[in-house]
């Protein structure tokens, strides 16, 4: 598993990283992967279009809204996943904050990139299990009009509290901190890239990266 250190540096606000910055982020990433590696769960459900959005029949869950419909309309199945760095990373970050806030900011960013790497690994595993199917982009609650509340449903369906130690607060914030839930559609035909870019992002108006003239890297 590889953490994208350029992403990590960008998340930390280091716009023009030096070689030393990159090397330090590499070793930070190594430490995160060894002490608190990403862990993930996923399950694959059959899919049908329902009145209130895309319906995962067996799970009794619908993913409401235009985004889910657009993403999944050509799909037979959808994989739901959750990936987390676990409580160990939160403890590392608390310890770093007590020691050195600058290091904490860099570590925090490194964690964000590491959990993405975990999601990539989960996706790769799903792809290997369904070699003849094509995947859509990965998308998460909070993107576009997919409500944050879907997070709780995904966690419940995956039994993530018991199997991964992931909890959602009433505000839909998840703990441990570096946790991502996501969905990926599986189709019989190739799927276009649809959601990359600021245009679809819910944080568009307030994104610090965008205000600074860059993006989080998801833009095409």
């Amino acid at each position: 598993m590889r953490v994208n250190v350029d992403d990590a540096l960008r998340y930390a606000g280091v716009r023009v990283p030096s070689g030393m910055d990159r090397a330090a982020m590499e070793s930070r990433a190594e430490r995160v992967l060894s002490l608190s590696p990403p862990r993930f769960l996923y399950r694959v459900f059959a899919l049908e279009a329902g009145e209130n959005g895309m319906l995962l029949t067996e799970a009794g869950l619908s993913l409401p809204g235009a985004l889910a419909r657009k993403m999944l309309s050509g799909c037979r199945k959808a994989a739901l996943m959750v990936c987390t760095l676990g409580a160990g990373f939160d403890a590392m970050l608390r310890a770093a904050q007590a020691r050195d806030m600058a290091e904490a900011v860099l570590l925090d960013a490194c964690g964000s990139a590491a959990v993405e790497a975990g999601c990539d690994a989960a996706e790769k595993e799903i792809a290997a299990r369904f070699p003849r199917m094509y995947r859509t982009d990965r998308f998460s609650p909070g993107y576009g009009d997919l409500p944050l509340e879907s997070q709780k449903e995904i966690l419940r369906l995956l039994d993530a509290e018991k199997r991964l130690g992931v909890h959602a607060a009433p505000s839909c914030l998840m703990l441990p901190m570096k946790t991502v839930t996501a969905a990926v559609g599986l189709a019989d035909a190739p799927q276009p890239a649809r959601i990359r870019g600021c245009a679809i992002c819910a944080l568009r108006e307030r994104c610090a990266l965008r205000q600074g003239g860059t993006s989080c890297g998801l833009e095409e």
Binding site: V44, A87, R94, Q97, A104, K162, H167, A169, R206
Partner: protein, 783 residues
């Protein structure tokens, strides 16, 4: 039936899996089925009883006040129904009905926001309901946070007299999700009075084997194994092992010492049938308990083998700055003292917060919580106040040491019961009503008395550590040798671990360090295992490193070599001595900045240093940050170098007894519902280093608390952070309450989802980042 009489006790299998088969809908509360579908529950119990289960778990796993809150049903009602169904099913079979207690479904501090006391109250309600309904025993299971398991076990112990089984759930790395190790779990829960400990769920029996071994090596208690039917298939969630394969793998666990067995997710009566056949005629293997002195946190077990360094610096005696921090409730300062000692090689930290004007019974547990959230190191709770000790032992997550009990009757009677109840280790001081004896013989006699009394209470002898007491050699020169003789005898003849506060030996002498170091080396030679020292003194830690080489504790001298190979020769950089405070801050050099500030304070007033040097230096870095020349991490490094300068200023003022430098007091909080707080902490770091005093109310703070604190403290500026759209209403409500106070403070807001327009709409100023927060503070506090 007495559960202890069965050679291998057979529990039951999964409840959740069985309910799904019966037709429970996704998202439905399993526990409410006790009321709506009692026949399902009864049938499931009967199935397991027919397969030979001797203990069945009532359908009460998630029946707690939190999960039942909006269901219209009470805990008493749901647990009462569940326990009664289990009892009815078990009637006439001789099997026992257990109250099943799972995790609350909310995370405890420091990972989450639920306080230990709140968790305890929820568990107390459950335990009382189970007892009233007539449960035969209590099974606390699937715990992943040792602190939550402790809260549940304490509640079971204090609310009932029933036997208590506790199992936690580990992942394939051998730890629970929160990092708890099997060794820590077993030692802590046995110490706290569990009747059997072990693991359930999450793994199949094969993966559980090394964990069962580790648990058995760390407890005298019967070991429980209630794993899943293998690991689930990720795609469809089905468990892989057949009943026969499951039972075959379980046999290895019984051989390794598991004496209580059952199944968790994916198992059904067929699995139990096979288990029953497997255990017939079998007795569990010897677990191989390893007795040793031991303290721990959840994630860091620390068997006391060889020398273990106890850091002495968290103690206000003779330290003006520390006293000030205590009186001002400045926990960050205390955490910092802990971090420094840990980095210098301390393995246990002594924690003493006793000082006139400090409410120790409230302060000691508060400090324990703050330390445990930031540093992972076992603590030695140091107090003469039994209430402070008990409050701290209650919240300490792990196995602590208590410093101390003495040979005085009153001390023995008040301290030892606490040590026993909370399963701690204890330091026994060799003094009694007649003071400190001046012979080694008499000190050993007191040590023997303390050990006798402790063992009589049921405290194992390896948990009794003896302090033979260091007396100042310049005052009582003959006593140094007596102390060393006593250490030798306690260590060699009684076989106990010894503790010694070493630094005291040299009080009042010049070149203290030389005397302290020599005394330390002699004490180690006499058998001292737990020296209490200042680990920040390099020479002291050097002596311990050398001792570890000579005693063979440092195999191949690896640690010694690493210690001295890593330390670069003090190198004279060309700029050393020429560097200005501004350079040191801009480059984020903490110790250099502090050194320069110390020099400047000899002829510069504290306030002049702040206004004339510190702030301009920070402004320069801030301006570079805004121009995109330096980035957030460097901005924070500079802020921390400035913090080191502030420490010098505070120390200088504390020495003179002057008032603290404060350019204004600001409340910061992350609003209710929001639990991620790194953004707020960044702002705090930067504001503090501009000389503002920050009252950090923490995260997930209700609007009323913020308004109340602002009013009570007469605060002029409140900073609020929110990360999610879902928590913006809480921000708005907080701003509204603040505006409605008699003397409304200015409000600034920030966070990922906050915009300038939103800020304006709720009558607040928008702090885009930490720098902007400083500018707002400047305007608010400008004269």
């Amino acid at each position: 039936m007495d559960w202890k009489n069965e050679p291998v006790l057979l529990l039951d299998g999964a409840m959740g899996t069985a309910l799904q088969k019966k037709g429970m809908r996704p998202g439905e509360s399993p526990e409410l089925l006790n009321l709506t579908r009692p026949e399902w529950i009864r049938e499931i119990h009967e199935g397991y009883l027919a397969a030979g289960s001797r203990v069945i778990y009532a359908n009460t796993f998630g029946a707690n006040g939190l999960k039942l809150r909006d269901t219209g049903h009470t805990v008493e009602e749901v647990i009462g129904a569940g326990v009664r169904l289990a009892k009815e099913a078990a009637a006439g079979t001789g099997a026992l009905a257990a109250l099943d207690v799972g995790p609350l479904g909310a995370l405890l501090e420091p990972l989450g926001t639920m306080a230990f006391e709140e968790a305890y109250a929820l568990f107390a309600e459950i335990m009382a309901a189970g007892k009233n309904a007539g449960a035969d025993l209590i099974a606390i299971e699937t715990m992943t946070d040792l602190q939550e398991a402790r809260a549940a076990l304490l509640a079971a112990r204090e609310q009932t007299d029933l036997p208590v089984f506790v199992t936690m759930s580990f992942d394939p790395s051998g730890r629970t999700f929160t990092g708890c190790t099997p060794a820590s779990m077993a030692r802590v829960l046995e110490g706290l009075g569990a009747d059997a400990v072990g693991l359930n769920c999450s793994l199949g029996p094969r993966e559980a084997l090394p964990l069962i071994r580790e648990i058995a090596q760390n407890t005298h208690l019967p070991v429980i194994a209630k794993p899943n039917a293998g690991l689930p298939d990720p795609v469809d969630g089905h468990y892989g092992l057949t009943p026969r394969a499951f039972a075959a793998q379980m046999a290895a666990l019984v051989e390794t010492g598991a004496a209580i067995v059952g199944g968790c997710c994916g198992t059904d009566p067929d699995y139990l049938n096979e288990l029953k056949k497997m255990i017939a005629g079998r007795t569990p293997g010897q677990g191989g308990f390893l007795p040793c002195a031991f303290v721990c946190t959840a994630a860091r077990p620390l068997p006391i083998r060889g020398v273990r360094v106890i850091g002495e610096r968290i103690n206000p005696t003779g330290k003006k700055r520390f006293q000030q921090a205590l009186l001002e409730n400045d926990l960050d300062y205390i955490v910092d003292a802990a971090v420094q000692q840990m980095d210098a090689g301390a393995e246990i930290l002594d924690v003493n917060v006793g000082y006139p004007g400090v409410d120790e019974a409230a302060m000691l547990p508060r400090v324990v919580k703050a330390l445990q959230s930031a540093v992972d190191i076992p603590l030695q709770l140091d107090s003469v106040n039994p209430a402070a000790l008990e409050n701290a032992l209650r919240v300490y997550c792990g196995k602590a040491a208590v410093n101390s009990v003495s040979g005085k009757e009153e001390s023995l009677q008040t301290v030892l019961p606490l040590v026993k109840k909370y399963g701690a280790a204890v330091v026994g001081l060799t003094l009694d009503e007649n003071g400190i004896p001046d012979t080694a013989d008499r000190r050993v006699e007191i040590a023997e008395k303390i050990l006798r009394r402790a063992e009589k209470m049921g405290i194992p002898r390896q948990d009794v550590w003896i302090d033979c007491l260091t007396l100042t050699v310049s005052a009582q020169q003959d006593q140094a040798e007596e102390t060393l003789r006593a250490v030798e005898r306690v260590s060699r003849d009684m076989g106990l671990k010894t503790v010694l506060g070493v630094s005291n030996i040299s009080f009042g002498l010049p070149s203290r360090l030389m005397v302290t170091q020599t005394f330390l080396v002699r004490a180690l030679q006499a058998g001292l295992t737990l020296p209490i020292v200042n680990p920040n003194q390099k020479e002291i830690m050097d002596a311990i490193a050398a001792h570890r080489v000579l005693s063979g504790e440092d195999p191949k001298c690896e640690r010694y070599i690493a210690r001295f190979a890593a330390a670069p020769a003090p190198e004279k950089t060309p700029e050393a001595g020429q560097m200005t405070l501004r350079d040191a801050i801009a480059r984020g050099l903490r110790s250099e900045a502090a050194r320069i500030a110390r020099g400047m304070l000899r002829d510069t007033e504290e306030l002049a240093l702040v206004e004339g040097h510190l702030i301009p230096a920070l402004d320069q870095v801030g301006a570079d940050y805004e121009r995109g020349i330096v980035f957030l991490p460097q901005l924070l490094s500079a802020a921390q170098a400035a913090q080191a300068v502030f420490e010098e200023i505070k120390a200088s003022l504390a020495q003179k007894g002057g008032a603290a430098v404060s350019r204004g007091r600001i409340i910061l909080a992350t609003v209710q519902g929001d639990i991620h707080d790194i953004g707020k902490n960044i702002v705090k770091t930067v504001l503090e280093n501009y000389g503002y005093q920050v009252l950090d109310l923490g995260r997930d703070v209700p609007p009323e608390r913020i308004a109340e604190a602002a009013e009570r403290e007469g605060i002029r500026l409140v900073g609020l952070s929110a990360l999610m759209t879902t928590t913006l209403p809480a921000m708005e409500e907080t701003a509204r309450l603040l505006h409605a106070t008699a003397n409304p403070p200015a409000v600034m807001v920030g966070g990922a989802v906050v915009t300038e327009e939103y800020a304006r709409r709720i009558g607040a100023r928008y702090a885009r980042d930490a720098r902007a927060a400083v500018e707002i503070a400047r305007k608010v506090f400008s004269p």
